[in-house]
Amino acid sequence: MYGLNTDIALDSPSKYYSIENYAKGVARWCPGCGDHAVLANMQKLLRDKQMAPEKTVFVSGIGCSSRFPHYMNTYGFHGLHGRAFPIAEGIKFRRPDLDIFVITGDGDCTSIGAGAWIHAIRYNMNMTVLLLNNEIYGLTKKQSSPTSRVGTVSNTTPDGSILPPISPIQTTLGVSNASFVAQTTDWNPAHMYETIKAAYEHKGFSFVHIIQRCPIFQGALADEQVANKDAIVYLNHDNGIKVDDTIAKMFKNEINHDPTDLSTARDLAKDSSKIHMGLFYQDKDAPCYDDYGASNIGFTVEQKEAALNAEFDKFAI
């Protein structure tokens, strides 16, 4: 209409998404499984950020936690064991408009998918990665995993596992171009929420290690972890992950750790006697491979035709 400049008209939100808009089906994890807490927090985060379900993709591998995408009313890709990262990278490479979440487990990420994991850290593509680590294989019924602590009795290690576990945080911090490394636990949902929120807000490969319980196959371990409040140390810093004061007060121990200090972060990760909760490390300037991937999208047919003609000229006789 004459006199109206449509360019300055503000978009009013056409739809408000509630948690129900993000939920799908009934999660079939065992009662008491830590995965439920992560799912609830994730749906809450999507609601709080009002992410468009059609612009959000959950990618997973295989394992208990990798069932996650089936319970999200977004796009989902329930892939292959150990291969969530390459799939997620391929999705993100040319789709800067999509929000990508990767849900992986300790077997999926640190065992069969270890190679892809290392390289995913280095690619530093913009995605939020949750490693749900219960230190055991659950779906295949109790085999030890690379993160199982020494002495873990399982169906494949009936006399107790003998090798020291891989520390996912330590490993991630050891890879060049790591840009966001944080840790939380399933029994502190408020801290977990703030952690995955901070991870989502970080541009790059945001790696969140979630220590969680498997009441079926790691029951004793879970009890011990939750009960031992002395072992838990809250990483508190102005540039770290903030939690509500009432939550912060619940921690018996805390240290002031600057998340730009990689060397100290590595020292903290080495200490397996403690569970450090919060942000180990963040580098906001680490290069993102998807910036390169998506930097030349949208060529027209005419541009491509001209390019092809130029190539044929080079091979012409």
Partner: protein, 626 residues
């Protein structure tokens, strides 16, 4: 020492007109024989000649110098007519030392009467051992009936440049330009083109060498040929198969090539890496073969169809993901530049050994479309077709090519670009609520895919058994039905195919069935045999899965049907192998099962392109046992 000095030339030789010639240049690795040969081929193609080249590649980057296993080089077959294969024995060989020809003699590449232009600097080498080896080889070559001409190539190059090792190849090119009456100015243009990224100094020094080689040959050689070109107004391009594949990817509108380096496939990605930015595309070099295909699948799922390019060992690693692509119906183009196998096998040599593993080599039933290119031209066009089929049929599409096509150069008509080659932008329109993620058409099995970003299309893609709603399903009927619908897609695609064209009579004594890069050699062999009065015909398959229709009807009109392939089969002349245990070549195995016809085979794993002569021998042998 300089035997050529005795060749006295009193007048300008008149060029002898010939229909075709096969030239080989063999050297140590790194002496530039391939650059020289490719240049000679390009110049010949520009003069209207039919051309086919095959690279002779040692397995190692730096094999020992002056060794038979180190033979590196190129074969160039040029002719007045279209050339479709690398032919039989060479007519002319240029050898930069006396040991490397043995690598080719082992492969029966030369014959009595083959002219050998041999670098003679080794005759005066400071090492007694080398001098002796040279003398022994020279005597041996002569006893084999080769027409050996010793040439002081290094010495002549040193008159022009300080270091002859770099540049001798352009001196040789100059010599070839004289021998085959290629205008020297065409050589100059070619040098300017191949060294376009180098300094003028380097270009000029190479042009000087070209002239020196030309002049020397003119003054000293007592033979001189003309291979007249074809007169054609048609615009042509010349390239190798991997370049054609790279261009095909760009022309198909695909924008992501996700790969991991592997011989002999990588050079296709090299070309793409150089040119793809001009097409709005990206090459992703993944951390491994598995990640390469996973990345391509992710990219396809969220956008335009992507491609992954690999070879046999890479195919083996990708298997699980390729099964997922079939199961979850993700469009994907997979290009397998086949090499010798199994395991690491013969990385630089030709084989057609991935046929069965591509079609059947994954757990469960994983339907797919598999095609094979038989010419360089098809390497280009099939990629465009593959992209379209992948999207129309929501399936992975495989292109099998091989090491022979990968590095072989051949001219073909410059493709006329069509706008619909380029993939359209991805659909981001809202998804109709009532449409399922796998809304399979009951007749064709076809369904439309929802792409992330399409509002209302949200579903969770899974490699688990699933129903039309995309939901995980362990229900017996649903798994049976969804498997059948995925297979029905392939059946409906097969209905769109035409029966293969028969080269020769529709009825006869013998029918040869081939696929892939052997097309040229088989066709030439059929021509030779037919001219000798043998009643033999051939067909060449482009679609291997599904197979082209009407095969059984065609086979029924021949007394005997055999496949000719470059892969393994048990030969019947060994008593260990009987009718009860004989293992057939791969296409033969498939066709026997498919048509219930007693199809014989000839195949080998010698790592060489099949020559027409070898195929004629096979034809005669098989007919004598009718």
């Amino acid at each position: 020492m300089d035997k050529t000095a005795t060749l006295e030339k009193t007048e300008t030789l008149k060029a002898l007109k010939i229909d075709e010639h096969i030239v080989e240049i063999v050297s140590d690795s790194g002496e530039g024989a391939q650059k020289c040969g490719v240049s000679f081929a390009a110049i010949s193609a520009k003069m209207g000649n039919g051309v086919w080249t095959v690279e002779i590649i040692p397995a190692e980057i730096q094999p020992p110098a002056r060794s038979r296993e180190g033979a590196s080089g190129i074969r160039i077959r040029i002719g007045s007519k279209k050339i479709t294969n690398s032919g039989n024995e060479a007519n002319l060989v240029i050898a930069l030392n006396e040991q490397v020809p043995y690598g080719r003699i082992d492969q029966n590449a030369y014959k009595e009467g083959t002219t050998m232009l041999l670098e003679c600097k080794w005759a005066t080498d400071p090492s007694k051992d080398i001098r002796k080896k040279y003398a022994d080889a020279l005597a041996d070559f002569k006893s084999r009936g080769y027409n050996v001409i010793e040439i002081p190539m290094e010495l002549e190059c040193l008159k022009v440049v300080k270091n002859a090792r770099k540049g001798k190849n352009m001196w040789v090119l100059g010599m070839l330009c004289y021998i085959y009456s290629r205008g020297i100015e065409k050589g100059e243009t070619q040098i300017k083109n191949i060294f376009r990224k180098k300094s003028d100094k380097i270009i000029n020094s190479n042009i000087d060498l070209l002239h020196a080689g030309y002049k020397w040959a003119k003054a000293n050689l007592n033979f001189h040929y003309d291979v007249p070109g074809m007169d054609t107004d048609e615009k042509m391009v010349v390239m190798n198969g991997n370049e054609a594949i790279g261009l095909g990817v760009a022309a198909s509108g695909m924008e992501v090539c996700s790969m991991y380096p592997i011989t002999p496939a990588t050079s296709a990605s090299h070309l793409l890496a150089e040119i793809f930015k001009n097409f709005g595309g990206r090459v992703h070099q993944a951390e491994d073969e598995i990640a390469a295909v996973g990345f391509a699948i992710g990219s396809s799922y969220a956008g335009k169809t992507a491609v992954t390019i690999t070879s046999g060992p890479g195919m083996a690693l990708k298997t699980e993901f390729l099964g997922l692509a079939s199961m979850a119906e993700i469009p994907l183009v997979v290009i397998d530049v086949q090499r010798g196998g199994p395991s690491t096998g013969l990385p630089t040599k030709v084989e057609q050994s991935d046929l069965l593993s591509t079609i059947y080599g994954m757990p469960g039933d994983a339907p797919k479309i598999v095609m094979a290119t038989s010419t360089i031209e098809e390497c280009f066009h099939f990629v465009i077709l593959a992209r379209k089929l992948a999207e129309s049929f929501r399936t992975p599409v495989y292109i099998l090519t091989d090491a022979n096509l990968a590095t072989g150069q051949q001219p073909y008509p410059r493709p006329k670009i069509q706008k619909d080659w380029f993939a359209p932008p991805i659909d981001q329109s809202p998804w109709k609520d009532e449409v399922n993620p796998y809304e399979w058409d009951a007749n064709t099995g076809l369904s439309k895919r929802a792409i992330p970003g399409q509002a209302g299309g949200q579903f969770t893609l899974t490699g688990l058994a699933h129903n039309s709603q995309g939901k995980v399903s362990y229900h017996p009927d649903e798994n049976q039905e969804s498997s059948e619908l995925r297979s029905r897609k392939i059946a409906s695609f097969q209905k769109t195919l035409k029966p293969p064209t028969i080269n020769g009579k529709e009825k006869g004594d013998l029918l040869i069935v081939g696929w892939g890069s052997t097309l040229g050699a088989i066709s030439e062999a059929i021509d030779i045999a037919q001219n000798e009065g043998i009643n033999v015909s051939s067909i060449h398959l482009r679609f291997l899965n599904p197979l082209e229709p009407g095969l059984k009807e065609i086979f029924n009109n021949f007394k005997k049907v055999i496949t000719i392939e470059i892969n393994y089969s048990d030969r019947v002349d060994n008593p260990q192998f009987t009718d009860d245990n004989r293992r057939y070549s791969q296409l033969s195995w498939m066709l026997r099962a498919h048509t219930l016809t007693d199809i014989d085979c000839y195949s080998n794993v010698e790592g060489q392109p099949l020559s027409p002569k070898r195929i004629v021998d096979v034809i005669k042998h098989k007919l004598s046992n009718l």
